[in-house]
Amino acid sequence: MSMTRQDIERRLVVERYLQGKLTPSEEAAFEETYLGDPDLLDQIELAERLREGLGELALAGELPRSRPRRRLAFLASAPYAAAASVLLAASLLLSTVLYVQNAELRARASGEIPAFRIEPLFATRGDGHVIARPDEGEWIMLMVDPGASDYETYRVTVRPSQPAAAPLVQTSGIEPGYEEALAVGVPGARLVPGDYEVIVEGDADGEWRPVTRLPLHVEAAPQSSAPAR
């Protein structure tokens, strides 16, 4: 049986349909309803475009921060900073998994979004972070933890660790996104196996101040990710 417009709006059916959260009977009723209803189809496609656009902005690191940044003095002490880092690492990992799942679903639905892989980089990983060599055409989205620093914007540079090597990527004006991570896209084709460093600097009124340097190793073995070397 078809759904009424009132039901659809009250129960947020369009959004739940796009999220894949309708029950099979709700889904059947909704599909039967929109099949011959161009106004409703407009609403669905509008919501879908909104999802796609937000996904694009998230990939480009252009989304606003999820909450105001607050700097609490007691976090500056070493024990709290360590505890906060662990919590940040855990929550960043969880949000990254959810983000990847969402992105994969969108990619399957549209068939248009290029392949990409998200790799979180934490200051708490010890000696470094190891990733498998990306496929041809794949993008690596590094989600870099800026630690306890509190700049409005950052610059992130990815370069081979050999002295005087030219940077692969240098992106300025990055604002911390969800979970305060800095998102930086690197074309997979440029990440050949080897050692790299990810240099994070904060913008102090036009002057770049060092924040952290995180080692990154790209290995040839076909594995998705390893925790630490």
Binding site: L46, E52, S110, G111
Partner: protein, 203 residues
């Protein structure tokens, strides 16, 4: 927009009328059916197959099957022609997923495609960059951070309404207002972008 009961009654009556006329061999009714359900059927098939080309093929096939059957005999619930077409489409998706052989058909497939795609959806003619730019403009226009957060949590993080309201300390009516206004504004931004694109193409 019509009231729900009126809309349902009109839909049911149109459906009964189409089924009856197609059963009598009325080709204009077949074309009306294709126009009426074409876009929705293609959307459903694209969503279920994740393959725009396959979805187009399956839509043609769905129409061929439906028209042949409706010409031969009426269906059980003529007031639910949409549900009938949906059933055929979903069976075809299942069959395609089992990699069954495609049927050869004698119906005018090109005219089905042409009739089905008469009305584009919002943003259909825009690139991904243009859509992203419209979303960026929408976020910039929202007056408070919390409203942006509503959209991001709903459309990007796939959170449900209750959770979003809890997290942001807002009630359902505020949530609905933000969503309604944001979608209205986004629609206007997409239309502006489409007009600009059209002007660029012309000039």
């Amino acid at each position: 927009m019509k009231a729900p009961s009126e809309r349902d009654a009109v839909e049911a009556q149109t459906s009964i009328d189409l089924v009856r006329r197609i059963g009598r061999g009325d080709r204009a009714a077949e074309r009306e059916m294709v126009e009426r359900y074409g876009r929705g059927l293609l959307y459903l098939l694209r969503r279920r197959t994740s393959d725009p080309e396959l979805a187009k093929d399956l839509r043609q096939e769905a129409y061929v099957i439906a028209i042949e059957k409706l010409r031969a005999s009426p269906i059980d619930e003529p007031e639910r022609l949409g549900a009938y077409l949906r059933g055929i489409a979903i069976n075809l998706v299942s069959a395609a997923q089992r990699k069954t052989r495609r049927r050869a058909t004698s119906t005018d497939l090109e005219s089905i495609d042409a009739a089905s795609d008469a009305r584009p959806g919002p943003g259909d003619t825009l690139s991904r960059e243009q859509i992203a730019a419209s979303v960026r403009a929408l976020l910039d226009e929202l007056p408070v951070d919390r409203d942006r957060e509503v959209l991001i949590r709903l459309y990007l993080m796939d959170q449900d309404r209750d959770r979003i309201c809890d997290a942001l300390g807002i009630d359902a009516s505020h949530f609905n207002r933000v969503l309604f206004r944001a979608k209205q504004r986004f629609k206007a931004l997409l239309m502006q972008a489409a007009r600009r694109r059209k002007l660029d193409v012309v000039s």
